[in-house]
């Protein structure tokens, strides 16, 4: 795969299904064939092509070490691209030093200057821009009010809680009216509840101010709730670039399917492909039909990916062409709103299904033999890796 992003967009055009106006490609920020190597031996970022629209909230999601921070640092100007071009608003910024890029940045550890008060921290970008005192104070006040921290201007960062520091870092990145704001795992140090709260606040600020945000996280939940589009990184490449619902519903390769949400996999080999239907011979011998995503050739190894909530025990809910398959119950867990059942299916004993607690289901016992099924469209035939 040389050019994931473009390949993906073509595919979507072909199907004509998932176009959203968010992806309208006016290219406020573009990465053009960008590569990065730190040591001259390994490419940390391999051929990155990415176009971010004005006002978009784009998240770079991926496991640790996949090159997200490196991409962000190249955009901010703290690392230079080994190859390729980065453009901001149509202008190449490869040779513009960081302080002239006018990009706001929120660091993971906030990087609030400990020897300055909160207000001084916020005034800093305005001072270096030689702004007058009155205007400065007005802006600082506005920015503090924006993050509901108006009363804390006189405090030192060390006197604030983690969540409050986070807000100040946010305010500081916004106070000089940057149009583009980068955030590198800004919520990573907060506890779960605060993190979820801040996710919404950041999202609201983004909508309210109309800024463009490039957000880095390794937390898929965060990526899905906040973003207009998500770029899933692995091994220095974008594996898929799509709006959250596409990412979850229609993963384009097995890495994305595994990385986003829970996922059942069954190994097999393609027998034949006809349009939107692929016949797959599972390793256990059954023949099932699935939706071919990135498989093309009969005889190719494939991984079938099925979301747990798309598997039905109740056959009446299944469409007529659904495929039924034998399963043995291994574990049944009551989780309140749902039941989670672990099964052995076609030799895979980590096969999980989730069923809604609708009041009429019965408790399944370990060892029980049942038949389960799914719609062929929900079984996605992906690459075998």
């Amino acid at each position: 795969m040389t050019d994931c992003a473009v390949a993906h967009m073509n595919e979507r055009d072909k199907r004509g299904r998932y176009l959203s106006d968010m992806t309208a490609n006016d290219g406020f920020v573009t990465f053009d064939r960008v590569q990065k190597s730190y040591d001259g031996e390994n490419l940390v970022v391999k051929d990155l092509n990415l176009s971010i629209g004005k006002g978009e909230f784009l998240t770079m999601l991926g496991p640790s070490g996949s090159g997200k921070t490196t991409c962000l640092m190249m955009l901010a100007g703290f690392e230079s691209a080994t190859h390729g071009e980065i453009k901001l608003d149509g202008v190449s910024i490869n040779n513009i030093p960081p302080h002239k890029r006018g990009i706001g940045m929120v660091f993971q550890n906030y990087a609030l200057f400990p020897h300055m008060t909160v207000a001084e921290n916020l005034a800093f970008p305005l001072e270096v821009r030689k702004m007058g005192k009155d205007e400065r104070e007005a802006k600082v006040k506005r920015a503090l009010d924006m993050v509901q921290m108006g009363a804390f201007g006189g405090r030192r960062p060390a006197q604030l809680s983690g969540g409050q520091q986070q807000r100040i870092a946010l305010a500081r990145a916004l106070v000089f009216d940057a149009e583009l704001v980068l955030m590198d795992e800004p919520l990573g140090a907060l506890d779960k509840q605060l993190r979820e709260h801040m996710q919404f606040e950041i999202k609201h600020l983004h909508e309210q101010l109309g800024i463009t945000v490039v957000y880095v996280t390794h937390d898929q939940g965060e990526a899905l709730t906040m973003s207009d589009r998500v770029a899933v990184f692995n091994d220095g490449r974008i594996q898929q670039l799509a709006p959250p619902e596409d990412l979850y519903e229609r993963p384009e390769n097995s890495f994305v399917a595994q990385f986003i949400g829970e996922n059942n996999t069954l190994g097999g080999r393609i027998e034949k492909i006809e349009g939107d239907v692929a016949e797959v011979r599972l390793h256990s011998g059954e023949l099932i039909s699935a939706f071919p995503v990135n498989v093309t050739q009969p005889g190719e190894e494939t991984t079938i990916s099925i979301r747990p909530e798309r598997v039905e025990i109740d056959h009446t809910r299944l469409p007529a062409d659904a495929h039924l398959i034998d399963a043995e119950v291994l574990e049944w867990i009551y989780m309140g709103d749902i039941f989670r059942t672990r099964l052995r299916v076609a030799g895979n004993d980590q096969f999980v299904i989730k069923s809604r607690n609708s009041g009429d289901q019965r408790k399944l016992k370990p060892g029980e033999k049942i038949k389960i099924g799914w719609a062929p469209m929900d079984a996605r035939a992906l690459d075998a890796s």
Binding site: G77, P98, M105, F113, H115, P125, V128, F176
Partner: protein
């Protein structure tokens, strides 16, 4: 809210004792244990460091020798009063002096008293040396004693001699301290010593000025190195750190001698400067045996003490601060000056204090490369301890030096705040 919360009396522990008291009891055992752990070191420091130094410093005021060697004379001299050009004390005093000197000469301690009083007035040493057992033995006790003392030395009739003895008859004296700041006690009160013998104040001032200079050059040379060290990858940083510490592995004398070779008028540095034409051959720079030599050699020797604290503080400054500053629009210089530098101040404080305190007490290097105008007050202290054996004056000088350091430390605390100092 439960009723116990409303209770205003002292909070009680489970067994009914006040909580404060049982907490104190619990903590006391912890404290005792901690004390036991440090006891050996404490004892060691006490015996080998605090007590000797305390005793040494006490010598700066100790003056027991006069009243111990000639106790009767001192007592008899109490009623006598010095008048410019007036009379020496009466016969009674000389009788007591004879008694005292008989004992003192027998014990052979009279010369020590002479040396002691010689610090206050020259000529006293020979006066007491001349007044020996043999001469005293020839005295005719039927005759008045004063003229017989005068036969030994005319000075015995000099009222100034007697003034010196009288004014030093207390068991404590301020004389050493006065001498240490170029003052002396005269019959007319306290006066400065004549210009040609006034050296100590000048030396103190020079010591401080040179130490401050050395501290500054160390800072200017050390700061970029420490910065580089803290920004290099760990492997190269360790290598460089070893190079920084390399000077510690060679003897101080070897290094100082190396500087002599490099810096002398026909030395390597002058040769190079002449060769590239920066200085004329007949106008070679005097880089050694003066203050310049001291500053150069001491800077070299003390540089690691500046670099190490700086390095350990800089290593804890996350690079994201400077990055944040730049992303907010600061130029490299502004980011450094407004964000990085203030956070490295604790390291500067620690390094500067360390270097300054080490510099102010250094004597080997100034002795070897300092010539006459590059020596420190410690060279003088060393001289009085080992050559002139005027330990009282050495102790007074050392005490003043200690006080000076304390005062500077206090000023520093006032200006920078001592809790702003971080060694790591």
């Amino acid at each position: 809210m439960s009723s116990t919360d409303m209770d205003t009396g002292p909070v009680l522990a489970a067994d009914g004792t006040p909580l404060k008291k049982s907490l104190a009891r619990a903590l006391r055992r912890q404290k005792m244990r901690a004390l036991m752990l440090i006891a050996p070191l404490l004892l060691f420091i006490l015996i080998t460091f605090l007590i000797p130094i305390g005793q040494m410093l006490l010598r700066s005021v100790d003056n027991e020798i006069v009243s111990a060697t000639i106790p009767r004379t001192v007592q008899a001299l109490e009623d006598w009063e010095f008048v410019e050009g007036g009379a020496p004390p009466g016969e009674a005093v000389f009788e007591q002096l004879y008694e005292d000197m008989l004992i003192a000469t027998e014990q052979k301690i009279h010369t020590r008293l002479g040396s002691r009083l010689n610090y206050e007035m020259s000529g006293m040493s020979s006066l007491f040396r001349k007044t020996n057992e043999r001469r005293l033995g020839r005295f005719d006790l039927e005759e008045p004693l004063a003229p017989q003392f005068a036969d030994i030395d005319e000075d015995w009739l000099d009222p100034e001699v007697w003034f010196t003895i009288q004014s030093n008859s207390d068991t404590v004296t301020a004389g050493y301290f006065l001498a240490a700041v170029d003052l002396q006690r005269t019959p007319d009160g306290i006066e400065s010593v004549p210009d040609f013998s006034a050296i100590y104040v000048k030396l103190f001032v020079r010591t401080i000025i040179l130490s401050v200079t050395i501290t500054f050059t160390c800072l200017i040379l050390g700061y970029p190195i420490a910065w580089l060290l803290s920004n290099l990858p760990a492997k190269s940083a360790n290598l460089l750190l070893i190079l920084v510490l390399l000077p510690f592995w060679t003897s101080l004398l070897v290094r100082t001698s190396a500087w002599k070779v490099l810096l002398q008028q026909q030395g390597v540095i002058n040769d190079i400067l002449v060769w590239i034409g920066l200085v004329a051959d007949d106008n070679r720079l005097a880089l050694i045996n003066n203050a310049t030599g001291t500053v150069i050699a001491m800077t070299h020797i003390l540089l690691p003490f500046m670099i190490l604290p700086l390095y350990s503080v800089m290593k804890t400054i996350p690079p994201s601060y400077v990055r944040a500053a730049k992303s907010l629009g600061a130029t490299d210089w502004t980011a450094f000056w407004r964000v990085y530098f203030p956070q490295s101040v604790p390291g500067i404080g620690a390094g500067a204090i360390l270097v300054f305190i080490l510099a102010i007490g250094y004597y080997i290097t100034p002795e070897l490369v300092g010539g006459t105008d590059g020596t420190f007050i410690s060279n003088r202290i060393y001289y009085h301890i080992s050559s002139s054996l005027n330990w009282g004056l050495a102790a007074a000088l050392a005490t003043i030096l200690l006080a000076l350091v304390m005062v500077l430390y206090w000023i520093y605390d006032r200006m920078v705040g001592i809790d702003n100092v971080k060694l790591g």
